[in-house]
Amino acid sequence: MEILRAEHLSKIYGQGENQVRALEDVSFSVEKGQFVAIVGPSGSGKSTLLHILGGVDRPTRGKVYLQGQDVFAQKEDQLAIFRRRQVGLIYQFYNLIPVLDVVENITLPVLMDGRQVNRARLEDLLTTLNLKDREHHLPNQLSGGQQQRVSIGRALMNSPAVVLADEPTGNLDSRNSQEILELLKLCNTQYGQTLVVITHDESIALQADRILTMEDGKIRRDEVIR
């Protein structure tokens, strides 16, 4: 079942001579439960693509459909609500709210929605992410790997339609990288979570179901591995 579709996405920064084409006519679709890795050199438009898929940046042209919904047809506030319910974002630099503790950071999208926190899911996530004894620590009291696990928890808390990760292991040592990757794979296999991960690390890419290779704002190769 198709869950995510990008149609003719273009993103142009600047104007006239200083124009920069970050994305040029990118189209593809992702099946539900698929683990997609996006690889490519720096400046190839990977992050721009990911941000557009997540609804945090707007394309200059083209459309994104998530679960059949035209993402950018929504008004700004609808888009914000869409983001917190349907998209889980994981960044390279974790981007946790420094004044909130682990539990608050993880439940942030739920709390922002004004909903009750599903205690069982939270407990489940804290156990899976091995953060049980860190519940009330602030981000600056955690290691990089732990912070990234919190941001994974935040991305998964709402059971979003798709989890988008922008070099989730880019800032971690190999042991922590492997751990994070295991977690991402676990949520892919266990919960059937659709995953789109940007990575520079070939070993990570090879564990995905499918690899998109980008270059100069275009998809050069689209290989399904398994």
């Binding site: 970050a22 190839s44 941000h51 506030d77 914000a80 004004g114």
Partner: protein, 454 residues
């Protein structure tokens, strides 16, 4: 508290210094606003006290009214205070002096409690009458009585024969009145001595008043003088048109301090000056508090972007800035009002005497300019401070919602700059003004970029 506000709250707690500085700014603003509004209100109050001292605490006075008029006024809804002075009749004393007869006529009048509350009777001795058997005489009657060998001291009895008739000598403006009362003679006890003459601003009659108190034993009134205060003050003109007396006189001095004069309103002018001062303070404080807020917002740019990327709506972010503003107001404004009031109170205590003697009657009245606690003044100051804070918070709040979520993750934002846009050597046309270009001439064999040094 919702989670976005909670984040704001925690940020404020973490940046204690900046929060304190902002609170201090709001406090100062509120203090200045309170100073201005309290000064304005106090000044108006002071002038009102002076006007009351000079004329009385009434807006209009009806002269030569009938019993029906008294009835009519008491039924008027807008009347908040009314005083009735019943003229009972006239009494004369004559004194043979230097071969001719000098005669002095007085009006004997009984005031009710309202009259004594509203009209200032300046006693030189003791007290006002409290029943219809007591009287306050004027200083010059006391002199007459003394010369006639009659008792004239406090507590002494004085017998007055009062007639309903009075023939004004050359007083054309005195209206012809129907004679309703009857002549009587009554012994009064002198309880106080009034000013030398007590004309009660009765230019038409031109006689001094001997004042007693109106109770159940008071004789039939010849006519009434009605003192009336209304709320709103402007309603006096409606009463004036109804004519509750043969003539009437508005207390313009007081009316123009209640914004109800048809000519110039002193209080309006004072409040306008306050308004101008507040506008100036507003401009000053907005720029001060605005800076505090924009610092706070730009420090939190990343956080706002992050919150947006995890799905905070613009409304939530805007509310969080307003929440911050409201929290700071809740602390700064009450403290500022308190501080401003105490400040202006102290200032007036130290300098209030300077204004004495500047205004007619201020010296002998003993009325001093003092800070008056006024709910309206505090409310205006609070409203102006809140306006300043929210004006200051508005632009940063807008900016907060304009920060693209992507700004939060800028570290990983990758741009691609095509190779053909990177130039070196001779600047492109338009890169420098023409006059400058002319001076840049690349010499042969040498790479003379615009930034190369000899």
């Amino acid at each position: 508290m919702n989670i976005v506000n909670q984040v704001t709250w925690k940020n404020m707690a973490q940046n204690k210094t900046r929060t304190m500085v902002t609170v201090l700014g709001i406090l100062l603003a509120a203090a200045m606003f309170t100073g201005v509004t309290t000064l304005g209100v106090s000044l108006v109050d002071y002038l009102r006290q002076l006007a009351v001292y000079q004329k009385g605490d009434y807006f209009i006075r009806f002269d030569y009214g009938t019993d029906e008029n008294v009835q009519g006024v008491s039924q008027e809804k807008s009347v908040t205070k009314a005083g009735d002075l019943k003229a009972l009749g006239y009494t004369s004393v004559s004194l043979e002096q230097d071969g001719y007869t000098k005669q002095e006529t007085y009006v004997v009048a009984a005031g009710d409690q309202g009259f004594y509350d509203m009209v200032t009777v300046r006693l030189e001795a003791v007290r006002l009458p409290e029943n219809s058997g007591e009287i306050v005489i004027t200083g010059n009657l006391a002199v007459y009585l003394e010369k006639l060998g009659l008792p004239c001291g406090l507590g002494d009895p004085v017998t007055l024969s009062v007639t309903p008739e009075y023939q004004p000598e050359e007083n054309a403006s005195f209206p012809e009145l129907p004679i309703t009362g009857t002549a009587f003679t009554r012994e009064y006890r002198i309880v106080g001595i009034n000013e030398v003459v007590c004309k009660l601003d009765d230019e038409a009659l031109g006689l001094s008043y001997l004042l007693t108190y109106a109770d159940d034993h008071t004789e039939q009134a010849l006519w009434h003088r009605l003192y009336v205060k209304t709320d709103p003050a402007g309603d006096v003109y409606g009463l004036q048109d109804k004519g509750y007396g043969l003539t009437e006189k508005a207390n313009t001095q007081l009316l123009e301090l209640y914004g109800a004069s048809r000519y110039g309103n002193v209080n309006t002018w004072i409040y306008r000056i306050c308004g101008v001062l507040m506008a100036v303070i507003l401009a000053g404080t907005v720029s001060l508090i605005y800076n505090a807020f924009s610092i706070s917002v730009s420090e939190r740019t990343k956080q706002f972007g992050l919150l947006r990327s995890v799905g905070a709506t613009n409304a939530q972010l805007r509310r969080s800035v307003y929440f911050e503003a409201a929290t700071l107001c809740a602390v700064g404004i009450p403290l500022g009002i308190l501080g401003g009031y105490l400040g202006i109170g102290l200032t007036l205590r130290l300098t209030g005497h300077l204004i004495r003697g500047l205004l007619a009657g201020s010296e002998q009245s003993g009325i001093v300019l003092r800070a008056v606690p006024s709910g309206a003044a505090f409310a205006w100051a609070a409203a102006a401070s809140a306006a300043a804070v929210f004006l200051s918070a508005w632009a940063p709040a807008r900016r907060a919602t304009k920060i693209p979520p992507i700004a939060a993750v800028r570290q990983s934002l990758d741009y691609q700059i095509p190779k053909n846009t990177i130039r070196s050597g001779v600047p492109a046309p338009g890169a420098f003004p023409d006059f400058w270009r002319e001076n840049i001439t690349p010499s042969a064999g040498e790479n003379t970029g615009p930034l190369s040094f000899p």
